[in-house]
């Protein structure tokens, strides 16, 4: 792939991190170059070419850079290095291993190897000599934190190949030659466990991408119950600041039923990443009993790190996700926040003096976002196995206005919408997902409906629809009460309102900081919802509207104590008993 004679150039203009380079040979759009600044080499990417001038965005601070500095073009796009040893690493947006960097402060021009080249991996071959393979085919397997990490034929290789040599089971470093393949013309290629792939290009090596059909459990009730996301699905969480986007994202990444979790901290607070660094090595994955960090990859490009690398960070995360999907694994990718990525695009577009679109964002913002979301999905691999990337991005709408360009563009691309409401956050009703405005398009898919009926319960969909109706009716009743006054409406209005409050307090609200309440398995969600709907279906006798609220407050209190107790424990049953007593007393 490398060019024989590298194109070089010299710097002729600088505005912040946009640098103009006069070049002496051919260059490609998005090609990577290094600009020399004394002893440092600054990485940059070509984003525009005008005549002999290449406009490059530098991934670092350009302080002290002078005209005349030499740029050397590399002949490839921005690439990630793929191989065993990516799990539980902390990378920056360009896949530099942050732990390998020296000193407290990030040093300009310091690029570190994403992989450990010395570590030996226990390799088990899958193919044998003579087998026909193509890009993405599994050559063998190593155990990476107990995940079956497949070593594959590099995605860049086109055509079919015959295995000429494959090493026997044993311990090898990632750079060890593990196989030799021959193409149709008889040319041999040596393969190691490492390959590279340009981040802005989707990895294609799969047979088919069907519509997602399987529920992805997150343990968050107002998602799983009301608006579920699927394996390979896409969703987004817009919300003004302070409405709990990050807490919700962290909850999902801790609890979701995925093999690999990739967290792209894109232009967000460094302390939030530190929280993951600190907590994930301590927390256990309830399904495997292993530490959460072992299945997690963190791409940290926090808000104070260079802006251009922020744009790259989401692509780096997605490409690593696609790599693990090609191994037949379930990947969950969380990006917080895609608005910061869009802002990085805006800053660059601004420096390029492009004509701006809405709110000064680039005109192609919508296309860029759609294209990115389309890389998620559930796939059948060429060998018939399945893999998926579920993508959930947060959006930070400017001024909390959901009509701004990033939210609008994302709404077109993502299938689930989890809108966080300021009003709910203000009254501390967390997670603040608005139950009425939010939606999951997957609920309309017949294949998803069928899957839910089989796995959760025959009447599940009806119950979910009913819960939504109760919430909507409750909201209407509340509006009436607010207009006409407590005693200006029939008592039944109060009952309708409080029944929706019951669902709100027991099902929707969830304490992310309580050990038990934080994560609710599907079985428990189903049990609690039918229990709540039983109450909704019962008719009660009230002589005064004040009795309605005090009765339901007691009911809610017992339910909440149930939520705080281990499922089906004595304490749980004790509160359930107390609840049943309460209901009997008030029953018609």
């Amino acid at each position: 792939m490398e060019k024989e004679n590298k194109t070089t150039g010299k710097v002729v203009g600088i505005v912040s991190n946009l640098v103009m380079v006069e070049v002496n040979g051919p260059i490609a759009q998005n090609e990577i170059c290094y600009i020399s600044l004394e002893k440092e080499r600054l990485m940059a990417e070509v984003i525009k070419v005008v005549g002999k001038h290449a406009y490059v965005q530098v991934f670092e601070s350009t302080r002290g850079l002078k005209p005349g500095s030499v740029a050397e073009f590399q002949g490839h796009l921005l690439e990630v290095t793929l191989g065993p040893g990516i799990l539980s690493r902390n990378y920056d947006g360009l896949q530099n291993d942050l732990d390998k960097m020296e000193g407290i402060f990030l040093k300009r021009g310091e690029y570190t190897d994403p992989l450990n080249r010395e570590k030996k991996w226990e390799f088990k071959p899958i193919v044998k000599v003579g087998d026909e393979v193509q890009a993405g085919a599994w050559l063998g397997e190593v155990n990476e934190n107990d995940q079956p990490h497949k070593v594959m034929v590099p995605f860049k290789m086109k055509g079919t190949f015959k295995i000429k040599e494959i090493v026997s089971e044993g311990e090898y470093t990632v750079d060890h030659k593990i196989a030799v393949v021959t193409d149709d013309d008889g040319n041999d290629t040596d393969l190691t466990m490492v390959q590279k792939w340009p981040v802005k290009v989707a990895i294609g090596s799969y047979k088919e991408k069907p519509r997602p059909f399987k529920l992805l459990e997150t343990g968050v009730r107002c998602m799983d119950t009301l608006n579920p996301i699927t394996e390979g699905g896409t969703g987004f969480i817009p919300g003004p600041f302070g409405t709990g986007k990050t807490v919700l994202q962290h909850a999902i990444s801790k609890q979701a039923e995925a093999d690999i979790v990739i967290i792209a901290a894109c232009g967000e607070r460094a302390n939030e990443v530190v929280e993951i660094f600190t907590e994930f090595p301590e927390l256990e994955d309830p399904r495997t009993g292993k530490k959460l960090i072992e299945r997690t990859i963190i791409i940290a490009n926090t808000s104070n790190m260079p802006v251009a690398a922020r744009e790259a960070s989401v692509y780096t995360a997605m490409t690593i996700g696609e790599y693990y999907r090609a191994m037949g694994l379930k990947v969950l990718l969380m990006a917080d926040s895609t608005s910061r990525w869009a802002q990085a695009l805006r800053e660059m577009s601004n420096r390029l003096e492009e004509l701006p679109g809405p709110d000064a964002f680039p005109m192609d913002l919508s296309a860029v976002i759609s294209n990115f979301y389309s890389r998620a999905g559930f796939v059948y691999l060429n060998n018939g196995k399945t893999g998926s990337i579920t993508f959930i991005g947060t959006v930070s709408p400017a001024g909390g206005n959901l009509k701004e360009p990033v939210t609008e563009s994302t709404r077109k691309a993502a299938r689930c919408f989890y809108g966080l409401s300021q009003a709910r956050a203000d009254s501390k009703r967390y997670p603040a997902i608005d139950p009425i405005d939010s939606y999951s398009k997957y609920l309309e898919y017949p294949e998803v409906q069928e899957n839910l009926e089989t796995n959760v319960g025959d009447s599940w969909l009806k119950e979910v629809t009913k819960a939504k109706d109760v919430l909507l009716r409750g909201k209407e009743a509340m509006e009436q009460i607010n207009i006409l006054g407590d005693d200006g409406v029939p008592i039944s209005f109060h009952e309708t309102f409080w029944k929706s409050e019951l669902i709100d307090f027991v099902i929707l609200q969830q304490d992310a900081f309580d050990k038990i309440d934080a994560s609710t398995p599907m079985k428990r969600q189903q049990y609690m919802l039918s229990k709540v709907l039983d109450v909704v279906d019962s008719s009660f006798v009230f002589s005064h509207f004040e009795d309605v609220s005090s009765f339901f407050k007691e009911v809610i209190n017992e339910f909440k104590q149930m939520n705080y107790s281990e499922f089906e424990s004595d304490k749980f049953k004790q509160h359930e008993g107390a609840l049943n007593e309460l209901l009997k007393k008030q029953a018609n």
Binding site: G13, I14, V15, M20, S61, T62, R63, G64, L65, P67, N90, L98, M101, G103, I104, F105, L106, R108, P240, F241, G242, G267, R269, A270, N271, V273, V274, E275, F277, A300, S303, N304, Q343, R346, E347, N350, P356, D359, A360, A398, G399, G400, D426, S427, K428, N482, G485, D486, D487, F513, F545, E546, S549, S550, K553, E554, I556, N557, Q561, Y564
Partner: protein
């Protein structure tokens, strides 16, 4: 500062705008500072041999034949222990009549801390103000602004927090501070006998606005010296960040950049993040905590400045005058400290999180009751009780003149719960109610 043997002097400006000048020069580095007829300037754009300089003081009176010399370095600050107790201008030069600082010269606007080298903030900062300690607990290494209307006593509250916070060093970065406020800070710190641990970088309303752009970086360079080299806990006070952002928009406007929302530069988020993200807890014990002020226009938090700030900082504090009790309170609804979860119920009593949430929920019920009352509806017995609770809660907890320990704050709240409500109405985990309910 080493002097250079030979400094080329340019005397031909090709362009002058209100904030920038352009000239032809070679061998100039990006971000480098220069002197234009004795005025400090910084390189903001290089196109071929055309160099554009931003003049901090403004370009008034600069002639086309002004003497320009490039200093071959970015803006710098001399750091040493001698900084303590001193007052400086935006360029880091003393304004208190004292001697120049002797020490190490450092570039301002240094690189970011590697996120994996940070430690999770975990030390509670007690202020005695219950509206903060109980509902919006601060943690060292946090960054949090006051979102305030210009007429609110934010500088007073900030000075109070600073003095009670027991930091090793307090660094004041004043941007567009009125002379009166500057003297207020000076007096308060002096009277508290704290002057020797205070360092101030001040740009007052009398100074040119673009100079303000240097203040946060100066303050934070000094903060990093004490936090990294001396392992001290440093509290940085930045007031007023809205005026800082205004200065950013002036410069970007002069450079013909396309404005985004509210005429602010498209890079506002990154510009503010670079400052606020300097807040950090180091594993070695040193820390930088930033408390800032962002003034609002007409209480509008959707404006680009407070909006971007809110997405960067770890919460925000709102002050509000409560007409029922005639005092300024910390608004419990709109205020938030994101890092409080790291300390409440851990460094404070176990009942803290639930007591805090229940009290705020009941306070919200009182707000609903008040709306009902205003709309002319009858109040229920529960409404009446929430209103009584709200008044007492406001007076004994939320008011900024409260100064008690956290346990006392919790006890006061339990007292109010038992006085006005039934156990089920409070809806707190049963084991806690059994232990703390005042019967």
């Amino acid at each position: 500062m080493e002097s250079q043997a030979f400094q080329k002097v340019y005397t031909k400006l090709t362009n002058i705008t209100k904030a920038t000048v352009t000239l032809k020069a070679d061998g100039v580095g990006y971000d480098e500072i220069a002197s234009v007829n004795g005025k400090l300037a910084q390189v903001v754009k290089i196109t071929g041999d055309d160099i554009t300089l931003q003049i901090f003081e403004g370009t008034e009176g600069i002639p086309t034949n002004a003497e320009v010399s490039f200093l071959g370095k970015p803006p710098q600050l001399t750091v040493s222990d001698e900084l303590a107790g001193r007052f400086f201008n935006a360029y880091g030069a003393p304004i208190d009549g004292g001697p120049e600082i002797q020490g190490e010269v450092r570039d301002i606007g240094s690189p970011s801390v590697n996120p994996v080298r940070r430690k999770q903030p975990s030390n509670l900062i007690a202020t005695g103000i219950a509206g903060i300690d109980l509902n919006n607990t601060l943690v060292s290494g946090q960054k949090i602004p006051f979102f305030a209307d210009p007429d609110q006593p934010y500088n007073q509250v900030m000075a109070m927090v600073a003095l009670r916070a027991k930091a090793d060093k307090i660094i004041l970065g004043g941007m567009g501070l009125t002379n009166d406020d500057y003297l207020y800070f000076k007096n308060v710190f002096d009277n508290a006998g704290a002057l020797d641990r205070i360092i101030s970088f001040v740009n007052t309303t009398e100074n040119p606005p673009v100079e303000r752009l240097l203040v946060p970086d100066m303050a934070l360079t000094a903060a990093e010296y004490f936090a990294v080299d001396k392992n001290e806990s440093v509290l940085v006070l930045l007031t007023d960040m809205t005026l800082y952002a205004d200065a950013l928009s002036i410069v970007s406007n002069r450079m013909d950049q396309i404005p985004s929302k509210d005429s602010m530069p498209g890079s506002l988020y990154s510009d503010l993040a670079k400052i606020y993200e300097k807040a950090v807890q180091f594993p070695s014990g040193g820390s930088i905590t930033i408390i800032a002020v962002t003034t609002l226009s007409g209480g509008d938090i959707t404006h680009a400045i407070p909006d971007n700030t809110g997405y960067i900082t770890e919460g925000q504090l709102f002050l509000r005058r409560d007409s029922d009790i005639g005092k300024v309170i910390v608004d419990p609804f709109r205020s938030l400290s994101r890092l409080k979860q790291l300390v409440i119920g851990k460094q404070t009593r176990e009942d803290h999180p639930q007591v805090m949430n229940s009290a705020i929920r009941l306070y919200a019920d009182a707000a609903n009751a008040r709306t009902k009352l205003e709309n002319g509806f009858d109040l229920t017995d529960y409404d009446e009780r929430t209103l009584k609770f709200a008044r007492e809660y406001s007076d004994s907890i939320l008011a900024i003149d409260v100064n008690v320990g956290t346990d006392t704050m919790l006890d006061i709240t339990w007292d109010l719960f038992s006085k006005h409500f039934k156990k089920a109405e409070v809806a707190i985990r049963e084991s806690l109610v059994e232990k703390y309910w005042k019967s």
